[in-house]
Symmetry: C2
Subunit: 302 residues, 2 copies
């Protein structure tokens, strides 16, 4: 029997999926050992997949990593302690007969949603992850757009305001992830809540509480969500004017707000976008945290 | 002998180039007959290329049209009087043995600059035309990005302001072409010139006079150019955060301002962009009005 491994290396754990014919047959995870410049991470992965292969032939290994990747070379992954790592070459050395692919984790997730999730109807779409920050994976003609330095799809660092109000980790002000991510939503809600009545003061400020209370009619929470949606819609409208994709797939922790978020977003997008892209479709991601292993396995299976 | 025709259909004239082995050997133009829904345009083109072929075998016909194109179908070209026209199929009917390609004119120009102009070193770049409006042609892996409805690269309709100050032809406010095109530059200069001393009041307001006076140290003209450059740099920074291209190629009438514009633009871009795309290169387009016929011939030559 043949098998393919789809792996998603994160800063705290490495998710590992074993696939046969595109089907996930086994899933596990190991701790990410970031000590010593993360030099044991790949060795730990090798050990685990050999254990899990049970003597079957490993025909493909796909790995998603949290950093820019171009042509199989990781150009720094801070959360892993990695600088430049020729990951694909290292893995090929160990598994010369397998199809080996290394790609950025957001891009892996995008491909995962195409292979087994809610983007299965699309070949040209933008996967948007709304979490602590905002990431993106751009798929054109079924292929990931890596970008010249691996920064393709770094959409969270587009700007939709220029007031120098919110400093971003990247050093710029007003990147749109400072407004439309979970973090951004909480900042906005706290600003709006000052001196006003809202149950957020009791339950605490998180993306979840804000969305829950917004659904419940809390005025401040509702305004915060609307401001987040407005910024997100404008950024996606700008992306659509560039790429004219078939669809936006919305994932990441904040997407748990579900149709409440999706409907508001699609509506606001249609109000602000260029008319020729008004039919762009919207869907929620479906694979959650498994998207990465599905995508990594997919690119290693072709 | 074999020949390929590269054709650029505009609202007033049709440019026709005859190529052998990628070399332009003959160039002419005919009037665009937009009467009667533009139904004679293609027939006129057929007649002209047969006359110009001089009995040589026509192995390829590429045509750029001023409107959205997807998979060889023109989805409306207002300046030609065209609605939906299955252009590629119509041309193939007449020339069954030729390689036939129909594409958007800005995309044809982008490919032209790659085939024979200043983008020859690149396979991933964005061609930006600064004219009455702002158009774009996105090339990824050497191929044009058409977009789902043919609106790929309609970058002029990205927004970098949301003050509802300037109405765009598309119906939206504050599309960035209302600020960074020739038209936008003139509007800005007129606003800035009100009640102030500037030689623009004598020589008149045009993109050319504004750039000429800015080079000459005229304060108002200089401010207008800086505002235009600022908006353009911000829009290109947003595009770069999405696509991470190798380069931006700047064309269109306004690009005649040359290195004076290009240097300011590259400098401002590096100030405002996401750090990971700071090395994006800038170059001036080189083929001017011939870019379209070169690009059309190129895609029909492969």
């Amino acid at each position: 029997m043949n098998c393919v491994f789809g792996i998603d290396i994160g800063g705290t754990e490495v998710k590992i999926g074993k696939f046969r014919d595109g089907e996930l047959v086994l899933k596990t995870s190991i701790k990410t050992d970031t000590s010593d410049g993360g030099r044991r991470i790949l060795t730990d992965v090798f050990q685990k997949i050999e254990e899990l292969s049970l003597g079957e032939k490993i025909t493909g290994i796909g790995i998603g990593v949290p950093g820019p990747v171009t042509k199989g070379v990781v150009n720094g992954a801070q959360n892993l302690g990695w600088g430049r790592v020729e990951a694909e070459a290292l893995i090929r050395e160990r598994y010369p007969e397998a199809r080996v692919k290394v790609l950025n984790d957001a891009n892996a997730a995008a491909i995962g949603e195409m292979a087994a999730g809610s983007a299965s109807r699309y070949r040209d779409f933008v996967f948007v992850t709304l979490g602590t920050g905002i990431g993106g994976g751009i798929v054109i003609g079924g292929e990931v757009l890596e970008g010249t330095t691996g920064a393709g799809g770094e959409i969270g660092h587009m700007q939709v305001a220029y007031d120098k109000k919110r400093l971003c980790n990247c050093g710029n002000y007003d990147c749109f992830e400072r407004y439309a991510s979970a973090t951004g939503l909480v900042i906005t809600a706290k600003e709006l809540a000052e001196g006003r009545k809202t149950r957020l003061h009791e339950v605490g400020f998180s993306a979840k509480t804000i969305f829950d209370l917004a659904k419940d009619g809390d005025e401040v929470a509702g305004e915060a969500v609307d401001m987040m949606v407005d910024t997100l819609a404008k950024a996606l409208a700008n992306i659509a004017a560039v790429l004219n994709p078939e669809a936006f797939i919305i994932g990441g922790g904040v997407s748990k707000a579900g149709d409440f978020l999706l409907d508001k977003l699609a509506k606001r997008f249609r109000e602000v976008c260029f008319f020729a892209v008004r039919e762009t479709e919207f869907a929620l991601a479906r694979l959650g945290n498994d998207a990465g292993i599905f995508g990594a396995a997919h690119v290693a299976s072709k």
